[in-house]
């Protein structure tokens, strides 16, 4: 269990490192360029890993619907957007606003798809997220200290 917890927290930290590094690349190049290198380097990394542990092409690959491959193009925009905003508003605001938007969208999709759940709890959660997003964007100019 302790290893599972370490893996989960590490995954979150890696997301932060990735966004920070891509943001640095974006400062010297452009957001789209940083997204380009993120995906090409990620592609190479995953291919090398797959050679050693396999699993890149599962036996059920023919059952995947066409839209199942659309996450890649969405990811291109996602990484470019993150690289664009992180030098402007900082890591905390970027992380917190992305998380807010993500939870909001997942709750909306659950309601649309009629997934079982506790509607009141979900609404309360969304209300808290909305308040947090308003607080995050209500700041004055960011105080750069270095």
């Amino acid at each position: 269990m302790i290893f599972s917890i370490i893996f989960a927290v590490t995954a979150g930290v890696l997301v932060g490192i990735s966004r920070q590094v891509n943001g640095r690349l974006s400062v010297s190049t452009s957001p789209m360029m940083s997204s380009f290198y993120n995906h090409i380097v990620g592609f190479i990394t995953v291919s090398v890993v797959a050679v050693f542990i396999g699993g890149l092409i599962p036996p059920t690959v023919s059952e995947v619907p066409l839209y199942g491959y659309l996450a890649g193009p969405v990811g291109v925009i996602f990484v470019a957007a993150g690289s664009w905003v992180i030098p402007k508003i900082g890591a905390v605001n970027t992380a917190v606003l992305i998380i807010g938007g993500q939870m909001f969208m997942s709750a909306v999709m659950d309601v649309v798809e009629g997934v079982e759940g506790q509607p009141l709890l979900r609404l309360a959660g969304l209300a808290l997220i909305l308040v947090g997003m308003i607080i995050a964007q209500s700041r004055k100019k960011p105080q750069i200290t270095a």
Partner: protein, 86 residues
């Protein structure tokens, strides 16, 4: 520009590996998401405070902490409300 600025994708790929290890564990999807969000937010607080990886440092204030508290608390409610699987 530092050479490591090109390596964001390596960390992205490592994210997928560690995240799937966490999801396929007793934590299940909701536990893995909650802990992952926590790790992400803690890292971002440190990154802003000290300016990690060549990005500008930003002094954290009460507003940052309030935003973090509200959004994390709201996310936990959405996660335990049932379906929401980010």
């Amino acid at each position: 520009m530092p050479w490591w600025a090109y390596l964001g994708g390596v960390f992205g790929a490592a994210t997928v590996v560690t995240a799937s290890l966490a999801v396929n564990s007793p934590l299940a999807l909701s536990g893995a998401i909650a802990l992952g969000l926590g790790g992400q937010v803690l890292f971002s607080l440190a990154a802003d405070q000290w300016g990690f990886f060549g990005l500008p440092a930003r002094r954290l204030d009460l507003r940052d902490l309030m935003a973090v508290l509200f959004i994390l608390a709201g996310s936990v409610l959405v996660i335990i409300s049932g379906g929401a699987q980010a």
